[in-house]
């Protein structure tokens, strides 16, 4: 029988992991909800942001917080580039083409990264203490990352509900023609959405590089998990993705402690498949 302390730790770590996974899922979902295209290469963009922060810190000695902000900028720029160069030309193509285009991007990023930076794992060492609270050990780094992820999500929420552009972005996902009748350019809104989605990837990247090592196939490791969370929460459903992220993170964390790290993922994926069987629209239903 396992020491309950480890279980509690696993739950806590699961919550902390959930925060960052939620961030990933929200960015992806935002873009899908508005532009109606899934960026298969989304987590690879996160990886690029991670590389950016890594190099800024280790090669140029930029302080971490500044590098993090730069990472967000990198993410936003990448988002814009992807939309302009790849997505815009194929907005009206059949879904398979759209998937393959972003799939091609995934290939491209992963192999280009291998070409440039080899398969070495790189991470940014952060010397922050490990806290001990009531007998459980919690990494302060993880705690900070979690808090910042929450902040980012709150900022996103405020942007989407309080600003004109944010509301317009929500509107365009509900009725593209109608928003054009109000004087808003759908194409421009897509661009902004892509920039915001990219920026979220940048935030996620900045928060992940201090917890995990980045390597060219990082996207292959975290990508499927992110998609799974989005589908589980209902593709396009922001609130659903938020909760699905925490649920999955718990399964992975607790499963990882009870059985093994890989099995934790396997169990999570199997649960996903079973849940799809039971509720094909995702736990919280699809975006209508």
């Amino acid at each position: 029988m396992i020491d309950p302390i480890f279980l509690v730790e696993a739950v806590v770590n699961g919550v902390l992991l959930g925060g960052v996974l939620a961030l990933l899922a929200l960015g992806l979902n935002l873009i899908f909800g508005v532009v109606d295209i899934v960026w298969i290469a989304y987590v690879d963009l996160v990886a690029l942001a991670m590389y950016a922060v890594y190099f800024l810190v280790t090669l140029y000695g930029v302080p971490l917080w500044l590098a993090g902000l730069a990472g967000i900028g990198v993410g936003a720029v990448l988002g814009v580039l992807v939309h302009l160069l790849i997505i815009s030309p194929i907005l009206t193509s059949p879904p398979i083409n759209q998937l393959l285009a972003t799939g091609g991007l995934l290939f491209f990023i992963q192999s280009f990264a291998t070409l440039l930076w080899s398969t070495d794992h790189r991470s940014v060492r952060v010397t922050l203490p490990t806290l001990e609270v009531a007998g459980i050990f919690v990494s302060f780094t993880r705690l900070v990352a979690f808090a910042l992820a929450l902040v980012a999500m709150i900022v996103l929420y405020l942007f989407l509900t309080r600003t004109y552009t944010g509301t317009a972005i929500r509107a365009v996902s509900q009725d593209r023609e109608a928003i054009a009748l109000m004087g808003a350019r759908p194409q421009r809104l897509y661009l902004v959405t892509s920039a915001v989605g990219g920026a979220m990837a940048g935030v996620a990247g900045a928060l992940l590089i201090i917890q995990y090592a980045v390597h060219p196939y990082f996207g292959a490791a975290f990508g499927p998990l992110t998609f799974m969370i989005c589908v589980l929460g209902g593709l396009g459903n922001m609130v659903g993705a938020f909760f699905a992220a925490f649920i999955m993170a718990q399964v992975i964390s607790v499963g990882g402690v009870l059985v093994s790290t890989e099995m934790g993922y396997v169990i999570a994926f199997v649960i996903f498949i079973v849940l799809i069987f039971v509720r094909p629209g995702g736990i919280f239903g699809r975006r209508t």
Binding site: Y164, T167, A168, R170, A171, E177, A178, L181, M182, A184
Partner: protein, 234 residues
């Protein structure tokens, strides 16, 4: 104010309008009536920029608008209340109205416009925080019109405003449109409910299978036998 000259427009291989010409003078209320499939909706969509005409001119206050995209047309002062209302169902009443004032010029006078709309349609003020999708048909129509007013237009295009509404609601709605008209807006309305709309407007056109078959003062048209027999009471 608005002039369509010999406009031909359609979708893909299908042509919905054949050489349509009409005029709306500033301050007027004009109706376009006709049966289903006549091309009435296409007509409005061509004016508002959702459809680009294949030939012909669309002139508004001297400016040529044919082929301009919708978001440019609305900046010239034309607001389109589309068929089926096309509200943003997940946004609240207030947010829908906010979107109506998306244009910078409209945003600057947002408060003023909002006041105006809430005065005209008090029920919208009551239901500010409610999701547009959960409103009743009549309320939705009012919101759609209100949203159009938020862009501070000079010309308002109304596409089948009575569609899907109970007869009592239809009367109330046309009353409200009358009040909007009294505020000084120029109106071009497309309707199947010929009897009600002819009471509302100054002039009307009859559109059948993409061509203007008749035009004249509303009172005159209402007298026309075949109009009465064929379309009245829908």
């Amino acid at each position: 104010m608005l002039e369509l000259a010999d406009v031909t427009a359609g979708y893909g291989a299908f042509t919905a309008l054949w050489g349509v010409s009409l005029r709306v003078a500033a301050g007027e209320a004009v109706a376009v009536v006709g049966p289903n499939g006549a091309g009435k909706t296409t007509l409005l969509r061509t004016v508002s920029g959702l459809v680009a005409p294949r030939s012909g001119h669309v002139r508004f206050e001297g400016a040529e608008l044919a082929g301009r995209p919708a978001y440019e047309v609305v900046a010239h002062g034309i607001a389109h209340v589309p068929e089926g209302r096309r509200l943003f169902p997940q946004l609240t009443v207030a947010e829908n109205l906010k979107m109506g004032a998306y244009l910078p010029a409209a945003r600057a006078r947002f408060r003023e416009s909002l006041e105006r709309v809430y005065t005209l349609f008090p029920v919208l003020a009551e239901r500010q925080g409610q999701r547009a999708g959960s409103l009743s048909g009549g309320e939705q129509q009012m919101l759609a019109v209100g949203r159009a007013l938020m862009s501070r237009p000079r010309l308002i295009l109304l596409d089948e405003p009575s569609m899907g509404l109970a007869p009592v609601m239809v009367l109330r709605l046309f009353d409200l449109i009358r009040r909007v008209r009294e505020e000084g807006y120029t109106i071009l309305v497309v309707e199947q409910n010929v009897r009600q709309v002819l009471k509302l407007v100054d002039r009307a056109y009859l559109l059948e299978v993409g061509r203007i078959k008749m035009e004249g003062r509303a009172a005159d048209l209402a007298e026309q036998d075949f109009v009465r027999k064929a379309y009245v009471g829908l």
